[in-house]
Amino acid sequence: MSSNRILAGLFLFCSALPAQVAQCDRTEMDALHAAVRASQSAGDNAWMLVSAALVLMMTGPGLALFYCGLVRKKSVLGTMMQSFGMMAVITLIWAVCGYSLVFAHGNPFIGDLRYLFLNGVGADPNPLYAPTIPHQTFMIYQLMFAIITPALIAGAFAERMRFPAMLTFSTLWAFLVYFPVAHMVWGDGGLLNASLGGRWPVFDFAGGTVVHITSGFSALVTALYLGKRVGYPEEKIVPHNLVLSFVGACLLWVGWFGFNAGSALAASPLATSAFVATHFAAAAGAVAWMAAERIRNGRASALGAISGAVAGLATVTQGAGFVQPFSAVLIGFIAGAVCYVMVSMVKSRLGYDDSLDVFGVHGVGGFMGCLLTGVFATRVVNSALKLADGQPAPLGWIDGNPVQLLNQLIGAAIGIAIGVVGTLVALKVTALLTPLRMEKTEEASGMDLVLHGEEGYNFEA
């Protein structure tokens, strides 16, 4: 696609020149070619570096604030540290071997180690993934996704897992779940890769399966495995500061533009399309959740509004670069309504303590988003896949390709299976190395004091 854009640019440029100059000789053509490439690269690279920063902002402070406001004040720092811990630990793992395991060509399940210690990942683009930006930009952008995914899971075991256990578990989880699933969906030769030779092509524009299904279903497993917080649900365990959660949710919303629109990997019209879809789904999700609360409780709450927006964002992630604006609105409405029912009605019936509703929002939203992408994906938005005659291939059901729904279902099922099994293994291994849970008396004192030796709020200081 990019070489077409370059040629089109050259053509326009040359046709605008007087005839004698248009017959430019070969070296002039080459110089012109290089200049066009450089200017396109500059634009794309600027957007992708900003996008990478936006996605990091989603974890810290976005997710850290969103989560920490929802826990009790004795665990505010411990909860923020879980997000921050991922920013530090996953970064180092990614640099050593994580990037290679995801994006190097290996087998259909995992990449090989050709990019170990980022060997060969430099200023030259990797034409397989993003031909107009430095390979290193692509690497750092993708890192931010690897950071936020295990950070999301932490909401399910809020206020009870010990910090060393959390870091150990998340490290193991990255190797057992994130790296394989991300390679299968996005990596060269991955089992589910839609454009680079997958057995079942799954459309996952920005990580509905890779990020939200894996983290959401893994979160459910951790909540069931670790058990409920002491006192849940009899005691009053309420968010200690929804103002922090509110600011966090707004940062998530803004950061999500980097997450979804950035996944176009260029400052292209496709990025615009994903940006619009993302924003519309967030708005529709917020409206749907508020309406559901108004009907059921008589009042729309602040926590409900921001939860609905996050549900819309998580659900549209998979299809952001494949669906039209009003498909995104519909996806957002469905997300807000269904996630509301899951979180407010189904969870309390089933009785597990997914403390901050990672499964109800990200697991359920991610799963729905995966299937809805199979329905609403259209070549009108994304023409990256070609038929043999060079025409854009039909994508989802509305393009007349209902089989894609089956591909999406297979992708989701594989994501769920690897998430569940990988999480169980990671928890078992972690438990052998270090105690998973805080003692009952420690839980009463809170994470901040017990795990970190400090308190978030020292008002008498």
Partner: protein
Amino acid sequence: MVKVEAIIQPAMLEAAREALKNAGVDGITVIEVRGHGRQKGHTEVYRGREYQIDLLPKIKLEMVIPSSRKDEVVRALAEAVRTGKIGDGKIFVSEVMEAIRIRDDNRGEAAL
């Protein structure tokens, strides 16, 4: 001497202080407290989960005044903080045996 203890709505603190100042009460102690009377709190809903909040934040005022001024001060205070709705609070009056000003060891009403 009597001790007047008033439990009032937090939003009424400034109105109460103004009224007490106008009534000539010099010393006052303000305490942030939690509790409930017959009103028994309210309900909060977080992501569909309902919580009964029994203990509401209230402000407790304490002052010791000459017995002769009891009715006047209590009336001024009550009128200042009354809205007529449930949750306005309570005033309790009790006898005080002795008052001592620590600085100069004055006793009784002279110490107030």
